[in-house]
């Protein structure tokens, strides 16, 4: 009643089948994780842009409802300037800078002292570059002005250095 072992062919076949399964599983899991992270980043970035539009709307809401369009434009120029400064500081505090709307890592240790509450709340997201565009050439029919918040980042799925960009518009008025 001596126990008989497996033949070499059986062992090889079993190992091959199992290895194939493990490799495919690993590959699928890797793709899944990449895509999942990419989706999460895209969603987070979209929320950032929407938040920024709401911040601009809140600033302009302090104007009288009868303010003319130029007053709205002036107010938007003011808040956009402040946001640009804060975005630059926030990027620096996280160890990167923006060149042509593409995040580039800085050398050295990042300075974590960033006083911007708005941007500090987004530190969990990917390194992003902001662009705030005033679209006052679009006729709105009242004192509202279109703006567009553009955010660029390097997506995980994209192997090249070409950043992904989303554009979220907002019509800003005192009303």
């Amino acid at each position: 009643m001596g126990a008989r072992g497996f033949t070499l062919v059986e062992v090889v076949m079993t190992t091959l089948v199992l290895s194939l399964g493990v490799v495919l599983f690993g590959k699928a899991t890797s793709n899944t994780l990449t895509a999942s992270t990419d989706n999460a980043e895209r969603q987070r970035v979209a929320l950032m842009a929407s938040d920024i539009n709401n911040v601009m709307a809140a600033r302009v809401a302090s104007l009288p409802v009868t303010a003319n369009q130029q007053a709205v434009i002036n107010s938007l120029n003011g808040i956009m300037g402040e946001l640009r400064t804060e975005a630059t500081n926030a990027a620096s505090s996280q160890g990167y800078r923006c060149e042509g709307n593409r995040p580039v890592m800085n050398g050295g240790t990042p300075n974590r002292n960033n006083s911007s509450t708005l941007f500090r709340s987004w530190t969990s997201g990917p390194p992003v570059c902001f662009e705030f565009v005033l679209l006052n050439n679009i006729n709105t029919g009242f004192n509202g002005v279109w703006v567009e918040t553009r955010i660029s980042w390097l997506g995980l799925k994209n192997a090249s250095d070409t950043p992904e960009t989303i554009r979220v518009p907002g019509l800003i008025s005192p009303l």
Binding site: R4, V11, V17, R42, S50, T140, F142
Partner: protein, 277 residues
């Protein structure tokens, strides 16, 4: 010999069982991976929609801001009513005994906003109705409901179609007017009531408080339900009628409004004293 064949056969079965188990394990792993992958693929498919959701939210807010502007601007309300006056689906008209609906449902697009990209759309549907059906619709007598639809990633002109199309809508209502009448009501006009009172003290411009003359006016007014104790206006006009030294009070009501007029005559002027309530 027989035992040897049996042992060999048993060994082959064990080997096949090993291959089968490993194949089953591999299949299970692949199923798990496929399930996770399918879920994430669906997420990836919807990823642009997640951006479009935020864009659509911003677009619908844009429409609401425009709606707020119209509501706050009488000339804009008037313009919108005038532009759509011949469209019964936008500007509702009142009919006697047939009340307009309490809740107005906008069905037709009255304006679209210009947007930064042609894949973005802001449509404003509107419906107007008079607040008081006994008066014409205007910027001071209206009810309105706007429905703003913001669409991102949709084919132009079809706010609910297209791959990755996201729409959001918000409804806002407003009204302006004094008396809410959803249908035309017939106002009963009372017959004019005339009560005469003869002033005992001759010509005057204004009765002094507490005098019999004022007491008489008060009584005459009270008889027809007019509050005399409001405002007393005196208007003096050139007189070219007959000379009289008797002052008369004539109180008249009717037509849904109340006017009290005191007419006195003097040799040179007629003094009309109107008491409004």
């Amino acid at each position: 010999m027989s035992k040897s064949i049996h042992a060999k056969s048993h060994g082959q079965q064990q080997g096949m069982a090993g291959v089968l188990v490993s194949a089953l394990i591999s299949a299970a792993l692949l199923l798990i991976a496929t399930q996770a992958s399918t879920k994430v693929n669906m997420d990836s498919y919807h990823a642009p929609n997640k951006v479009n959701i935020e864009v659509a939210n911003q677009l619908v807010q844009a429409g609401v801001r425009y709606g707020n502007y119209v509501i706050a601007t009488p000339t804009a309300v008037d313009a919108m009513i005038t532009q759509n006056a011949t469209n019964p689906a936008v500007v509702l008209s009142c009919q006697s005994g047939q009340p307009l609906p309490e809740r107005l449902q906008p069905t037709q697009v009255v304006t679209t906003l210009n947007t930064p990209q042609n894949t973005q759309e802001v449509q404003i549907k509107a419906v107007f109705a008079p607040f008081d059906c006994n008066l014409p619709i205007s910027a001071t007598n209206f009810r309105l409901t706007f429905e703003t639809v913001g669409a991102a990633g949709c084919s132009t002109g079809n706010a609910a179609q297209g791959d990755g199309c996201v729409t959001r809508s918000v409804v806002q209502s407003a009204y302006k007017g004094d008396i809410y009448r959803p249908s035309i009501e017939t106002v009963v006009v009372p017959d004019p009531v005339v009560i005469s009172y003869t002033c005992p003290n001759g010509p005057h411009h204004m009765p002094a408080p507490g005098t019999p003359e004022e007491t008489g006016i008060v009584a005459a007014c009270a008889a027809i339900g007019v509050d005399y104790h409001a405002t007393f206006h005196v208007i003096t006009e050139p007189y070219d009628g007959p000379i009289s030294t008797i002052a008369d009070l004539q109180v008249t009501t009717g037509g849904g409004s109340t006017t009290t007029t005191v007419t006195t005559t003097t040799p040179t002027t007629t003094t009309k004293s109107s008491i409004g309530n």
